[in-house]
Amino acid sequence: MSQRLPNDSQAQGAVQQAMAAAQELALVLAAKSGDRGAFGKLAQQYQRQCAAVALRLLGNTHDAAELVQDALVKAYRSLDQLQQSERFGPWLMRIVTNLALNYRRSRGRRQALSLEQTSAGANGDDGEDLRSSVAGSTLDAPEKPLANAELGDAIQIAIDELPEKQRLALVMFAVEKMPQKDVAEVLNCSVEAVKWHVFMARKQLKKSLGTYM
């Protein structure tokens, strides 16, 4: 039985990956001992990915940036609870997604209340229009870089309507290209379950975006 040996570029890639992991571990350990500078470097390393995920979950840049700040502060405060220092990334992303879900729930309650109050003061027929305008406004004007902004809005609305785990799996894995193992850790499920959530989410998305595709 023959084994395929890695070629030079694969070996070099693995070495670089190991070095990056070792550097990150050193930063985490320093941050755990109270080194804010080390934590700042970790934050810079992850904040873009965190913001991207938060943005896909919330649909608003301002809210996403604010949420990532909150998540980073919370992470720094809770560093002593991080058991596996080498798994900082997924641990941080878990904080981000938890905060995002909480934010969505509270926003949902606020919007429902607002809709009830508005429809109580107007005709009942206005409800559907208001609902679609609220959903459509989740992407601010400067956040519509797609050539087809309408499609961007439609994707955001379709993702918002997915079940929680499907939404998270799709955003983290299929959109933001996080490793499945990390996504599984964030969702507290198996890698196979992540694959299934992504599959179901994409299937649902195909239905929702049917007219745009």
Partner: protein, 229 residues
């Protein structure tokens, strides 16, 4: 049948994501060559993923410099472990020391004032003299009746803690309860007080539990005979 279709679509989903194992991948590719439904299912999923890739590659602009500055500012107030660095946390110890010093100085000042007032026993008719005996004080007060009466200038000396003094001609006797073994202290206290009292020249321990302050009698005033009725 439905389960078979779903299983096939699930395999295709993993194929699109590149997470299918080598054997399953080869098998699926062979099937797609001959099965148009499989190819159509792949096309559908590929299309959705392409849209997501395009959407995911377009991120709105975020001012990261401002973000970093704000984060640094916020982290300055935080510690690992969750204790916020508040005003009291950073200055509390210094303020506690300052408060302690202030209290100590205040107590010293008040104590000094009390000491000064206790020592200043010469100033008024009603004075407080600190007895040498611990925790005993002697009230010395002018007694007009005594000072102008037949017993001359003897003034009353009272120990508030002790039973009422008894007066005899020219003398005042102080007694303490038998269970108070402070006769010597009592004597010392009276001796310390009486020099400030005119004409009280000696204090004598007359009984085991009493002392007597002796004062000389003033000569009686001579009254002219014609004043008698």
């Amino acid at each position: 049948m439905k389960n078979d279709t779903q299983h096939l679509e699930f395999l295709i989903s993993q194929y699109v994501d590149g997470t299918l194992d080598a054997a399953s991948k080869k098998s699926l590719e062979q099937r797609m060559v001959v099965d148009p439904d499989s190819r159509a299912a792949y096309q559908e999923q590929r299309e959705v993923q392409d849209v997501l890739d395009d959407w995911g590659n377009r991120l709105p602009w975020i001012n990261w410099e401002k973000f970093d500055a704000e984060l640094t500012h916020r982290l300055e107030k935080e510690t690992v472990g969750g204790q916020r660095i508040t005003f009291w946390r950073s200055w509390g110890k210094a303020m506690a020391v300052a408060a302690s010093l202030l209290v100590a100085v205040g107590v010293g000042y008040v104590w000094r004032g009390i000491s000064a007032s206790v020592n200043d026993t010469n100033s008024a008719a009603a004075q407080v003299a600190k007895a040498s005996a611990p925790s005993q004080s002697v009230t010395v007060e002018e007694n007009a009746a005594l000072s102008q009466g037949m017993h001359g200038s003897l003034r009353r000396v009272e120990f508030p803690e002790f039973p009422k003094s008894t007066e005899t001609a020219g003398n005042v006797q102080f007694s303490v309860p038998p269970d108070v073994a402070a006769t010597e202290s009592l004597k010392q206290a009276v001796e310390m007080s009486l020099p400030k009292v005119a004409n009280a020249n000696s204090v004598v321990q007359t009984q085991p539990n009493a002392v007597t302050a002796e004062a000389p009698e003033k000569p009686r005033r001579e009254v002219p005979p014609d004043h008698f009725p």
